[in-house]
């Protein structure tokens, strides 16, 4: 549904079916290819809108896919490949942004919202109980006390 609203609402003409990975790119070793695909999904196609290189048919995305596979064939670990790519293209290429000053809001934000919400809920529930307790234990007026005493005495 990626392009869907774009397509529906903007009628952008740049949309194209995502026919990304070409047969000649696929590595013969299935284990290596699986790793290549997983890494590709973490890397942004720099000339596209919000597409990973795994989804994009842009030539630049293909170059990056080939680069990733070359590094894997050379025996690099997944982390090494990512490092290699970010050294050349910067953090912007990562679809899962690294934790740093400018992305603090991004990573901490959701948990801050959850904590604030939980704190708010806690205070709300406690406050409500306070209200309830207060209402229950409102001191009796002199008149009420007299009537209560009268009732209790009658019971005896």
């Amino acid at each position: 549904m990626k392009r869907l609203l774009l397509a529906a609402l903007l009628a952008l003409s740049t949309l194209a079916p995502a026919l990304a990975v070409q047969p000649d790119e696929v590595l013969p070793d299935p284990a290596l290819e699986t790793r290549a695909r997983a890494i590709s999904q973490e890397l942004r196609c720099l000339v596209c809108q919000n597409q990973s290189i795994d989804d994009s048919n842009a030539p630049l995305a293909r170059d990056l896919r080939l680069l990733v596979r070359d590094r894997l064939k050379a025996g690099d670990s997944d982390d090494k490949v990512m490092e290699y790519v970010t050294d050349r293209y910067g953090d912007y290429v990562l679809l899962r942004p690294p934790f740093k000053a400018t992305t603090l809001v991004l990573w901490v934000g959701p948990f801050a919202v959850l904590l604030l919400g939980a704190a708010g809920t806690f205070l709300f529930l406690r406050g409500r109980r306070g209200v309830a307790a207060g209402a229950d234990t409102a001191p009796l007026s002199a008149d009420e006390r007299r009537r209560l005493d009268a009732l209790l005495r009658k019971d005896d």
């Binding site: 952008l12 003409s13 070409q22 912007y92 991004l106 919400g117 809920t121």
Partner: protein, 668 residues
């Protein structure tokens, strides 16, 4: 002439919308019945005028009147009739027209069917609706007029983007918009209630059907969009966490929270202030979605800066609607009296947890979608936020939400026993263990750990929801006949909840299955070649040429066999549209209930003797949409609950005699 009539009707609608808003507001404040009553005919007149304008635009598209710019830019004489009609809303101006059509239909529905609403509340709701109408009619007339003519008229049009010439996408926008705009009703009711200074269970009972209707159509709209992406984009992805998708997902998440908090207002007269806030937030998110998509800011911040007219206009609308209603909220919310009390472990408590988690989920999507834009605009650098980020932040909130979703309905109102509720869920627990064990065994290790969590979660949601239903009708605890009677007399909203919750489980099953165990073969195939995927043999028989109304297509033929038995013939196409010079893939899908076989025909190779063919096996994927449609149906079933029927809040006592309350069961 007819486009001019449409234009005239649209201008007239703007003034009628003003009449619908100002006098009723004054009348409600001064208790002037005549002024309040103006809102009713005005709302109906506004709808008729907007429909007239919309019909005029449709007519221009249907007869291919190329003297109208909008038709030239988005139509072609050879385009099939279905897409001439759907092409009206397949472009910016027309989609805004559809938006306002939906808005006025909802407004007129309140005017016509809201007879039992208190007169001041009704007048104020319609007035707020009228004000939203004023904003959007001004937007259309000033920045996006679809009736502009061109002289001289060109011979033919530029055609509609071929990706939109598809039945799945043709009907996606109306559902999506009905959802977006439907939340405007909740918003109008919230603002009207703030002006009135009163929120009571009857108010919640009026708001809930509108919210349910909006939520159901939005669910359907999102499901249709996802399905379209699946078969049209050529490789079977169904959700990309694209900002445009997120724009529709945020109102959905907030709307889901609203749906649930309104239950607490209705049943227990609590969470009133929060529910009002949610109604405002949900519609604001709908407006923001419109802003994100319409302003072009997502394409690039730069493009937005070059032509900011439309974007700024919607931003101002958003600021007025959100800012104004939040200001009103801050003034009036403290005066709303708190209602029923409840312990943390209770049905109310579970719904509060639901709201906490859904709000966090909404905030997560909000931050992930808008923060990169914010950084870019502030020139603080560029950052990419994609699927890996959302999967890492959204799932930790979504998983506990689904776990709690099953337990919540077992808790009683006010105060509940969590241990007892969990004991009654033992069957669902057993189902989870079996599902996970079977998956781990069949898939030899089960693949990623998250896949096992997904399967367990799906089993928990599906079986747990059914167990709750069985518990409610006392299945196996009393005679079958008795259980049947209970089921029949159960409120429709209870049926709706069970259907929607269980179907969420089905969707989770589909999402997990295709994400974890999809297999594929990408290869250059010559006619006669074979490929094997997931135990199926695909034989490529060749490619033929096909002529469509406004395209030419290469159609591949594949014979699929399994163990020598013929399974299906698949005919994927590659279409070339001459006017727009674009190519689309029409993938061919053979679906069994348990998986999809998916073939897409790609480009021919350099020497022209072979084609690049992508074959996928997507296990369980149909369940994503079966579940989605089921959730929508759950919403609709709930909508037919007799308590929501027109005027039900007033007539409830009378209707009670006819047996509506015969089953002494907890509703919801």
């Amino acid at each position: 002439m007819i486009p001019e009539l449409g234009h005239y009707a649209l201008v007239l609608a703007l003034f009628v919308a003003l009449v619908q808003s100002v006098p009723p507001l004054v009348g409600a404040a001064t208790r002037n019945a005549a002024w309040m009553n103006v809102a009713v005919p005005a709302a109906i007149a506004q709808m008729l005028l907007v429909l007239l304008a919309y019909a005029a635009l449709t007519w221009a598209h249907v007869v291919s009147d190329f003297s109208v710019l909008n038709v030239v830019q988005n139509s072609h004489s050879a385009k099939p009739m279905l897409y001439k009609v759907s092409g009206v809303w397949g472009n910016h101006e027309g989609s805004m027209m559809l938006w306002i059509v939906m808005l006025t239909i909802f407004g007129a529905a309140v005017a016509l069917f809201g007879r039992n609403l208190p007169p001041t509340l009704k007048a104020r709701v319609l007035a707020v609706q009228g004000l939203i109408g004023v904003g959007f009619l001004l937007f259309i007339l000033i920045t996006s007029n679809p009736f502009i003519r061109v002289v001289p008229a060109p011979i033919d049009g530029n055609d509609l983007n071929p990706l939109l010439q598809d039945p799945g996408l043709a009907f996606h926008p109306p559902f999506l918009y009905a959802g977006y705009v439907g939340f405007s009703m909740a918003f109008s009711f919230a603002v009207a209630a703030l002006i009135e200074g009163r929120v009571d269970p009857a108010w919640a009972r009026w708001v809930r059907p509108w919210t349910l209707a909006a939520w159901s159509t939005l669910t359907m709209g999102i499901a249709m969009g996802s399905w379209w992406a699946y078969y049209e984009l050529g490789w079977g992805g169904w959700w990309y966490w694209d900002p445009v998708e997120n724009a529709s997902f945020m109102p959905w998440l907030a709307g889901t929270a609203l749906l649930h908090s309104a239950i607490v207002v209705e049943k227990r007269d609590a969470l009133k202030s929060w529910t009002i806030l949610l109604a405002i937030v949900t519609f604001s998110l709908s407006l923001m979605g419109t802003f994100l998509v319409r302003s072009g800011i997502l394409t690039s911040v730069h493009a937005f800066a070059v032509d900011p007219k439309r974007g700024i206009f919607i931003l101002v609308l958003l600021a007025i609607a959100t800012g104004g209603s939040l200001l009103l909220y801050s003034l009036r919310a403290p005066t709303l009296k708190a209602g029923g009390l409840f312990a943390p472990i209770s049905r109310e408590g579970a719904l509060v947890l639901n709201n906490l988690l859904l709000s966090t989920a909404t905030a997560t999507v909000f931050i992930g979608t808008l923060y990169p834009l914010f950084l870019d605009i502030m020139k603080l650098g560029k950052v990419s936020v994609g699927a890996p980020f959302f999967n890492a932040t959204f799932l930790p909130v979504a998983i506990p939400m689904v776990v709690a979703m099953v337990v919540g309905p077992f808790l009683s109102w006010k105060r509940a026993d969590l241990g007892a509720a969990l004991t009654r869920l033992w069957v669902a627990g057993v189902a989870v263990v079996i599902a996970v064990a079977v998956t781990a065994y069949v898939k030899a290790g089960g693949g990623p750990l998250l896949a096992l969590v997904g399967i367990g979660l799906a089993a928990w949601a599906f079986v747990g929801s059914l167990v709750e239903f069985a518990d409610r009708i006392a299945l196996f605890r009393t005679s079958f006949r008795n259980s049947w009677n209970r089921a029949v007399h159960l409120p429709r909203s209870a049926w709706g909840m069970t259907i929607a919750h269980a179907c969420l489980g089905l969707s989770i099953l589909g999402m997990t299955g295709t994400s974890a165990w999809q297999t594929e073969s990408i290869s250059a195939m010559k006619p006669g070649d074979r490929a094997s995927v997931a135990g199926y043999e695909f034989q490529f028989d060749g490619v033929g040429l096909v002529d469509g109304p406004n395209f030419k297509a290469e159609r591949g033929v594949f014979t699929v066999t399994k163990d020598g038995q013929r399974v299906a013939t698949l005919e994927p196409e590659r279409r070339s549209y001459s006017t727009t010079r674009m190519t689309t893939t029409e993938s061919a899908i053979h679906t069994t209930v348990f998986s999809d076989l998916y073939v897409a025909l790609g480009d021919p190779t350099q020497n022209g003797t072979a084609w690049i063919v992508r074959i996928y096996h997507h296990p369980l994927v149909p369940w994503i949409w079966i579940g989605g449609v089921g959730m929508m149906l759950g919403g609709l079933v709930s909508l037919t609950d007799r308590r929501f029927r027109i005027g039900a809040p007033e007539r409830r006592r009378m209707a009670g005699k006819t047996g509506g309350k015969s089953a002494p069961l907890p509703a919801e």
